[in-house]
């Protein structure tokens, strides 16, 4: 099993490694999602002030966390691609953007549907909500810019600049509730304080967060593999793959 291209083309080795990992992460995502929903709806108690409406938290918080985390990872890989001209890292960055945008949208959507019954409004222009909306626009900007540029190398560079400039927004979102007056409440879970949630509620939220992680890994791996095939279609290893030589 000595295949010479294996050493030189890292997208190729990633392609096969990712292909082997996807089924495991899919299984984990499904198990965690079922467990998280079970804990969220059948174990976690009713909240003392928000009643059952607080159960939106089990998607809202994981979605908001993922949207910020994925943006940071996307900016990191886009930056690595820009600095070291590594093909694979730019492809991973492009693969992350749609999933990150989806989670940012979900955080905003579920926030609106939570805010209406609890706060009395779908939307306010406070610092937390506005900065999360800006995050969503940054994802959209990154994706449409990359789609608008035909040459993948130039698209990667342009995207990396947006991604890196926009990364300052991530700490702004996170600390907005401490730095400024907002309608949005402060963090229930943080590094420096003990969580301000009952254990069953917290575990439901954390399991759903893990499920969101696994889901993201699966979707991003699949999308990266597709981008690899799209971009490397003229290389020898993809032609061999297409002819079934590698099977």
């Amino acid at each position: 099993m000595t295949i010479n291209w294996f050493k030189y083309a890292s997208p190729a080795s990633f392609y096969f490694l990712a292909g082997r990992m996807i089924p495991y992460f899919t299984a984990l995502a499904i198990i965690l999602l079922v467990a998280g929903l079970y804990v969220g709806f059948f174990v976690a108690p009713t909240d003392f002030q928000q009643g059952e409406a607080y159960r939106i938290i089990f998607i809202h918080v994981p979605a908001a966390w993922m949207s910020m985390f994925l943006y940071t990872v996307m900016a990191f890989w886009a930056g690595v691609g820009l600095a070291f001209n590594t093909r694979l890292s730019s492809m991973v960055a492009s693969a992350i953007a749609p999933t990150g945008a989806m989670f940012a949208f979900l955080a905003l959507w579920t926030g609106a549907w939570w805010g209406k019954p609890m706060w009395g409004t779908w939307w306010v222009w406070d610092a937390r909500l506005t900065s999360e909306l800006i995050l969503f626009f940054l994802y959209i900007g990154f994706m449409s810019l990359q789609a608008a540029i035909d040459d993948p190398k130039r698209a990667d560079k342009a995207g990396a600049i947006i991604a890196l400039v926009g990364v300052v927004n991530v700490p702004i979102i996170y600390f907005s509730v401490q730095w400024w007056n907002t309608l949005h409440q402060g963090a229930s879970v943080s590094m420096i304080q003990s969580p301000k949630m009952a254990t069953a509620m917290l575990s439901g939220m954390l399991i759903m967060t893990l499920a969101a992680w696994m889901y993201s890994i699966v979707v991003i791996l699949i999308r990266t593999r597709l981008i690899i095939l799209e971009r490397e279609r003229h290389t020898a290893w993809v032609s061999e793959l297409r002819e079934g030589v590698l099977e």
């Binding site: 108690p45 009713t46 909240d47 003392f48 002030q49 928000q50 607080y54 938290i57 019954p117 609890m118 706060w119 009395g120 409004t121 306010v124 222009w125 406070d126 610092a127 506005t130 900065s131 909306l133 800006i134 626009f137 940054l138 959209i140 900007g141 449409s144 810019l145 789609a147 608008a148 035909d150 400024w180 007056n181 907002t182 309608l183 409440q185 402060g186 963090a187 229930s188 301000k196 949630m197 009952a198 509620m201």
Partner: protein, 149 residues
């Protein structure tokens, strides 16, 4: 759609998305970083008196009452240092309660009352079952009485 047109549309979309986000950034950072003023800030004339602005704090315990016509609510917003009297006609959010957080938007009239046209509830970051909340409250009361003794 021809590919060239499609590309133009995509470029137009990305440019407008970026423009929208820039406008949002400026809008947010100019006017909404101070989302609300505390009663102390209002008393210290830091709030834009004469214009519409937001006051945030806690609904003072025992301050909520209905006016004669039954639709206008009067209550006080406090930050434990200063108190602002508020009048509001409309539906209050479900979480509006005495002793809980509130953000009201409106204007201060010459009579010194803040006439709100929007009242939002601001809840805290604690989540627990009602029994736990009651237990906490009992514990807090018990501590208070033990201090008195």
């Amino acid at each position: 759609m021809k590919p060239r047109h499609k590309k133009m549309a995509v470029i137009a979309l990305s440019v407008s998305a970026l423009a929208v986000s820039v406008v949002l950034v400026l809008n947010a950072f100019q006017s909404n970083l101070v989302f609300f003023f505390t009663p102390s800030q209002v008393v210290a004339k830091e709030a834009p008196i004469g214009k519409s602005f937001r006051v945030g704090g806690l609904v003072e315990e025992g301050s909520l009452r209905r006016d004669g016509d039954g639709t206008t609510m009067k209550f006080a917003i406090t930050d434990t240092a200063e108190v602002i009297q508020v009048a509001y006609t409309g539906i209050l959010p479900d979480l509006f309660k005495e002793g809980k957080g509130v953000v009201a938007q409106g204007k201060i009239a010459d009579d010194g009352i803040f006439y709100a046209d929007e009242v939002l509830a601001k809840h805290d970051e604690n989540y627990m079952p009602p029994e736990a909340a009651e237990a906490l409250e009992r514990a807090a009361k018990a501590q208070k009485t033990s201090f008195k003794q």
